[in-house]
Structures are given as C-alpha cells and as structure tokens.
C-alpha cells in the first residue's frame, strides 16, 4: 500500500468471533452456576432502571423475583461516562413518589449558548430548536448510576460488580443466560494462583444493557439475523473534568473548529458546579482523515479563547472516553426482544444526536423492558411486548422525528448543516425517505499530506498516558490482551489505530506495531474501526468517579 493511498478499515478488522460468544447452556468451562429469574448485563442507567422497575412490580403483586445485575467495573459508575445534561422525564416515571430535588442532579440548566468556532474566533449562534435544554439538569452519570444502584439494592436487587458477561448461554434459539469472564489469568491466558473460573448465570430472561457497542447484543443480533435499516454508526467522545479557578454559569455547545469540515461533531462544556466543569469533544467515527486524533483535538480545543480563560490555573481531575451510537431511528435493530432476551439503552441505540440525549431514553427503555419482562414471567406473555410499548412511545416518536439529521452530515459540515436546518424547520418532513449510511469501518480514509496536521502529535495539554492515569485505570500489566487484532496491519493502518485510540493502546514505534492492552478504557472505538474488543477480568479499565 503506497503512502497516502486510501484504505478501508473494514478490510483489516477481524469479524465478530461469534463461535466464541455463543455457548450452549451446560457446556464445560464454568466454575459456579447460579440461577436467577432475570439477569441484567450492565449496571448503567438502562440496566438499573430495568432492575428497579421490575423489583417494584414484583413487590406490588407480591411475587418474589431473583434479579441480578452484572457489572464489569469494580464499583458502580466506574465505567459510566457522559456529558451530561439530563431530561428528568424518565426518572420521574421510575420514581413517581420523588420530586426533581430528590434526584442526583447537580444543577438545573439556566443559561446556555451555542457557538460556531473558527481558530481564535467564536460566533454565537441561535440555539437550534433541537438543542434547548431549559428544564433539564446538568449531572454526572457516575453519580446517577451510584444513586440508582442504592435504590436498586434497597429493593432487594443483587448487584454483582466485577463480573463482566463474556458469552451468551443459549438453549437452541433461546437465550438462557450469560457466562462471565475468568479472572486472574496471566499474560499467556493461563490461570495464576488466585484465578477465578467463569461463572454461568442462568435466567428466564436476560436483559442486555451493555451500553455503547455491546458485545453480546451484537452477537445476538448477528446470530438471530436481526436486521436494521441502516448499520449503527458511532461517534467518539473524549471528556475531561476540570476544577476551575473561574466560574462557569452556562451550558455551552460548539460546532466547527477544531474539527475538520468533513467530520461531524462538536463540543460540550457543562458546569456541574460553577467551578467544576465537564468538557468534551465528540467526533463521528466516519472521519476521512486517517490522522485525526480526537484526544489531540480536545487538547487543541482547550486553547481556544472561549475556554482558555476559564481553564487558566485550573486542574484536570478526571479524563475519559466513550463512543456514542449515532445512527438514530434507522439504526435501531428491528427487534429489541427475542426468545429470553431484551436489548436496552445505548446497546440498542436509543440516542438522539441532535439533542445529545440518551440517558433518559436508556432509563425509559429499562422501564418498558421491566414491564414486558414482568408480564412474561407472570403470564408467559411474549417479550415482544417490549417492542410494542417502545414503538408506541415517545422514544420512537422523537427518534423518528430526527431520523435523518445526523445522516445529513455525512456530506460534510456545511451542506449537512443546511440540510439539518431544513429538517428542523419542516419538523422532520424534509427529506422524505431515508439516507443510506455506511458502517464506519467501511468509510475509506487516508492520511492528509498536511504537515501541520501530523505535527499535531506533539500536542499541548495532557499526553495519552497521563490521560489514562487520570481515568483511574489501574489494570494490571500482566493481564492477557483482550483485543483481537487482524492478521495483517500495514503501517498506515497501524498509524490510523494509534490516532484513533484515545488511550494510547496502539503504538507505532521502532519495534513496529504494539498493543498496550491494559491502557484500554473500554470506549469501544477499537471495536468500531479496528481490533475487536472483548471483556477482560472484572475491575479492569477506568475508574470514573464523577464523569
């Protein structure tokens, strides 16, 4: 491959290892076996909302339900990351007995501003109608998750932290539960002295709430050939939490610089407290320049006059990264329920890009799933009831309204912006039909010959290794690599991986291509564009506190 040739990441990406992800129930390999009524994979907002609603329903009709939630992080919230500005609607439905002031929000949104940035200049834009945030709250998703966890445990839900679900247990075509990952393996995958074997958790219903780019959800959809009109597409968000010397009194979103014009994305700056500011840059993973590095762009972004004064003398207290499913309505799997299984939250793709909202959809989907699961366990009603409820709900209506908005931007920022404006004005009626979208990995990339772009490697701000340190990542160095790399990784592709990964997992150096798997913060960008991600032993990865 000659330099500066276009390459397609999909060509170098191994396929989903389906045969390793789907295991017949009863197969050898597990230590303990536990039986529950419902197992929920992922203690994020969707998973916990499902557990809470289900526990409440069971309590109301005095059924005893054994509900277990598996979480791969060592403690609740440690793998949760979002902006975030939250619509309280779903929490109100989950806790009708509580008021907004009881919820773990930080502050109501009072002032907000949207800017178009160029290098050195900011232009105030009128807030697009899809982005109004009055009545919503600035919050930390970590704090929301910990709060939900307490509520769930009060209701008798069992939460098992440090237990990643690595495989789906199946009986014929039905999902029977999950098998967790082993722990205590050495670099070569052999069990060390304190090793723990995988556990089988068998349940009547398995709810997959794995968050963005869920592995088991992908496996199930592929295995059961569940289609979606468009493939799911993703953006990568890199975020920092700052303790600032100057206060911030408004929620800010920006478009434009430092993103190149053929990339989709923008930034957010949210004050959790006047002097505790969450800021981040979100970039669609269909970017064309193979040298684009979201972490580096974030470091540049912080030097814009809009932020430089705010951040001066301040301190980064946390750093993190996560992908966001951006495909919207047309990328949702056509069925989110199957035999013994339901898909919740980000894992199903319930995120509205134009308003940057997904948390309340996640919680709402958990509530709906709980109702369907309850009826399924009680009266053997089909789990497809979950799909029925969803399809008639505001979740579907709202996602439908903005179904083409993100997709318009694949043609570039300016043309996309015009189309988006037209969509808003016409309430989604323009354009009719739908945009076709490619998988991110199928979009061709090349390295820009722009020397300036390449020298952006030598950036200001924090280095990736320091960033990983700030994510709280203390994964043991001797852990076996959890990433499945393709057999052939030419130089340009390796360099592309190195830029793509915000945590510096991939490095190209004197000794060639190197994979620093312990650096991984589970953002899943690699699973979208490069080497496939699989879960590692529980407790690995970041330890977010207020992200």
């Amino acid at each position: 491959m000659a330099k500066n040739d276009q390459f397609v990441p999909a060509r170098y990406q191994p396929p989903l290892p389906l045969d390793k992800l789907i295991v017949q129930d009863g197969a050898a390999g597990a230590g303990d076996r536990m039986e529950l009524d419902v197992v929920i994979v992922g203690a994020g907002p969707a998973g916990l909302a499902c557990a809470i609603e289900l526990a409440k329903l069971a309590k109301a009709d005095r059924t005893a339900l054994n509900i277990g939630v598996l979480e791969k992080a060592e403690a609740l919230g440690e793998h949760s990351l979002s902006g975030a500005v939250v619509n309280p609607r779903a929490l109100r439905e989950l806790f009708p007995e509580l008021g907004d002031s009881d919820f773990p929000f930080r502050a109501p949104v009072t002032k907000e501003a949207v800017y178009l940035l160029t290098k050195g200049v900011k232009i105030r834009l009128p807030t697009p109608p899809t982005m109004h945030n009055r009545g919503y709250y600035v919050a930390s998703l970590c704090e929301i998750v910990r709060w939900l966890g307490t509520k769930a445990e009060e209701l008798g839900v069992n939460i098992f932290t440090g237990f990643p679900a690595a495989q789906l247990l199946v009986r014929d075509r039905a999902v029977a539960g999950v098998r967790t990952a082993a722990a205590g393996l050495d670099r070569d995958g052999r069990p060390s002295a304190g090793a723990m074997a995988p556990n089988d958790i068998v349940a009547r219903v398995t709810a997959l709430a794995e968050g963005t780019r869920g592995l088991l959800a992908q496996a199930w959809c592929q295995w059961q050939r569940v289609p979606s009109e468009n493939p799911q597409i993703f953006a990568l968000g890199v975020k920092e939490l700052w303790e600032t010397k100057r206060p911030l009194d408004r929620v800010i979103h920006t478009l434009g610089w430092p993103l190149p014009t053929d990339a989709f994305g923008g930034s957010f700056v949210y004050p959790l407290e006047p002097n505790l500011v969450a800021l981040g840059l979100v970039v669609g993973l269909d970017y064309r320049d193979a040298g684009l590095d979201v972490h580096v762009l974030l470091q540049q972004f912080k030097r814009h006059p809009l932020l430089a004064a705010l951040l001066e003398g301040g301190e980064v207290v946390e750093w993190g990264a996560k992908t966001i499913p951006e495909g919207g309505f047309y990328s949702l799997p056509q069925r989110r329920a199957g035999d013994g299984v339901v898909l919740l939250g980000d894992t199903a793709g319930f995120v509205d890009v134009p308003s940057l909202k997904g948390i309340h959809y996640a919680i709402q989907s958990g509530i709906y799933a709980a109702r369907a699961i309850h009826q399924n366990l009680k009266n053997a009603e089909s789990l497809s009831r979950y799909d029925d409820i969803l399809n008639k709900s505001y979740v579907a209506t709202e996602l439908y309204r903005t179904r083409n908005m993100r997709l318009a931007f694949r043609d570039g920022f300016y043309w996309g912006g015009i189309q988006a404006a037209l969509m808003t004005i016409t309430g989604g009626r323009f354009p009719n039909g739908k945009y076709r979208m490619h998988r991110d990995a199928e979009v061709g990339r090349r390295f820009s010959p722009d020397v300036r772009a390449r020298s952006a490697e030598r950036s200001d701000g924090i280095s990736k290794v320091d960033a990983v340190f700030k994510s709280g990542n203390s994964t043991r160095d001797t852990i076996p690599s959890h990433l499945i790399v393709g057999p052939d990784v030419p130089g340009d592709v390796a360099r592309f991986y190195a830029r793509m990964c915000p945590a510096g997992v991939y490095e190209v150096g004197e000794n060639g291509f190197r994979v620093n798997a312990p650096n991984c913060v589970d953002c899943k960008a690699t699973d979208v564009l490069g080497p496939r991600w699989t879960p590692r032993e529980g407790g690995s990865g970041p330890k977010y506190k207020r992200m």
């Binding site: 303990d32 069992n158 967790t180 002295a193 304190g194 723990m196 556990n199 958790i201 330890k543 207020r546």
Partner: protein, 252 residues
C-alpha cells in the same frame, strides 16, 4: 477454631485527596471506600486457617469499627467466606489509636479466640499499631507485620521483614497477628459468596467513642514540589547529588 479478623473501611489508595472546608479531615464527597488492603490479607489468612481446621471446625468473625456504611465493607469479608460480622458503629473514628484499640479489645474480650488477625496498618492513617495495642490490652502475645505463617497445634511460627533481613519468630496460640503483603493472595469473592453474604449475621452495635488524648489540629496538603534542577555534570556532581538527596530531599 475461633478466629477474629479486625478490619477497617478506608478511602481507596487512588483517592485524590481534597481537604474538607473545616480543614481537619478528608472531603469525602466522591471518595470510593474499600476494605483496607492489608486487612484483605488478614481475612484471607483467617479463611485459610478455617479451611485447614476442617468442615465445621472453624468460624471466622469479622469486626469493624466504623460508620454505618462500613456494613458494606463487612459484607465484602462475608462474601469472601467469613461467617459473621460485627459493626461497632461510630460516625467518627477517634484520632487516638489507643481509644480504637480499647473499643476493639472490649468487643473481643468476651470470647476466647484461638487467633486474632489485623492488617499491619491502615492506608489512610498509617498508624501501624492498633493490632499491637489491642493485643496488649487483651494480654495476648502479638507478632506484627507477618509475611509468612505456620501453625502446628497451639504453636505458631511467623516471618516478618526487617531492614535487610527476615525475622523468624515463634509464639504460642492464642495470639494476635498483624498481616503484611506477601502473607497470601486474597481470593476474589465468588458470585455465590456475594449472594450468601446477604444472609449471614451482621450485628450493628452503636458505640460511644471518646476523643482520647489525640486532637486533630489540621489536615493540610503537602508542600509544593519544587522546580527540578541539574545538579552538575559528570562524576564530579555525584557528591553534591548525594548531599542534596540526604539533606534537602531527605530520601537517603
């Protein structure tokens, strides 16, 4: 075999230390609390001794002095395999370790234990003494900071690290031991263990902690790290380097 393990709930070692407004304690908002890592070795050792004693022949009781939230810490020990827990509930742990030892000794006194285990020190206050103080109050022999343990009937043999060597110590049971890293590899709590822990007895007993003889005046951040400097060039700079490391940096 009746074994007691005394544990403490402490801030995670990666905690970014922020000082509370009143300047005397840690700002606990957002702080993750865990079982003191040295106590994990103590719990693990207790479980191994119980297992060695044979089915039904051993019992491990976990005791913790701490706030209500410390129940979670005790549950972790129960999930690992301990049989019962006692929380001596006090919102504030006295700054005076002798007071802490006094309360723990009072709890331990009523039972005749074969073995009492502590972690060698807590990673928050680094006091390194509660185990030994408690042993004295109970009139029991004590060996601190053990990294190896053998028990034969009522005779014990332990190894402990000292500067440049390993002390081999003999002692009779019952005894109080404080555990150091290297004693064992603590087990992961199994899923079943986590479930079972919820049903194991956990007694919560409010206690009155008296202030003791130590009074916290202030908690403050460490002095700012000074700018680095090049000490000199070549072999000739070594003497000065060593002097600075000794007198200025105080690491030699």
């Amino acid at each position: 075999m009746k074994i007691a393990v005394c544990i403490k709930r402490v801030p995670d070692s990666e905690t970014r230390v922020k000082i509370a407004a009143h300047g005397k304690a840690l700002d606990e908002s957002g702080v993750k609390f865990v079982m003191n890592p040295y106590d994990e070795f103590a719990v693990e050792e207790a479980l191994r001794r119980k297992e060695k004693a044979g089915t039904g022949a051993g019992e491990v009781t976990v005791i913790c002095l701490g706030p209500a939230a410390a129940q979670e810490t005790i549950r972790t020990a129960l999930a690992m395999g301990a049989d019962r827990g006692v929380l001596l509930q006090a919102d504030k742990i006295p700054a005076d370790p002798f007071e802490v030892a006094r309360m723990i000794a009072a709890e331990l006194k009523s039972t005749s234990w074969d073995l009492i285990l502590f972690g060698r020190m807590a990673i928050d206050d680094y006091n390194h003494q509660v185990g030994a103080l408690t042993a004295e109050l109970l009139g029991l022999p004590c060996v601190t900071a053990i990294s190896h343990l053998e028990i034969e009937g009522t005779q014990g043999l332990a190894e402990r690290e000292i500067e440049g060597g390993i002390e081999v110590v003999e002692f009779p049971l019952p005894a109080v031991l404080t555990a150091d890293k290297g004693l064992n590899e603590p087990r992961y709590p199994a899923l079943k263990g986590i479930m079972a822990a919820k049903k194991k007895p956990l007694e919560v007993r409010p206690v009155q902690a008296s202030a003791g003889a130590f009074e916290v005046v202030a908690l403050s951040p460490p002095p700012e790290r000074k700018e680095g400097k090049i000490v000199g060039e070549g072999v000739g700079a070594v003497g000065e380097l060593v002097r600075l490391l000794r007198e200025e940096a105080k690491v030699l």
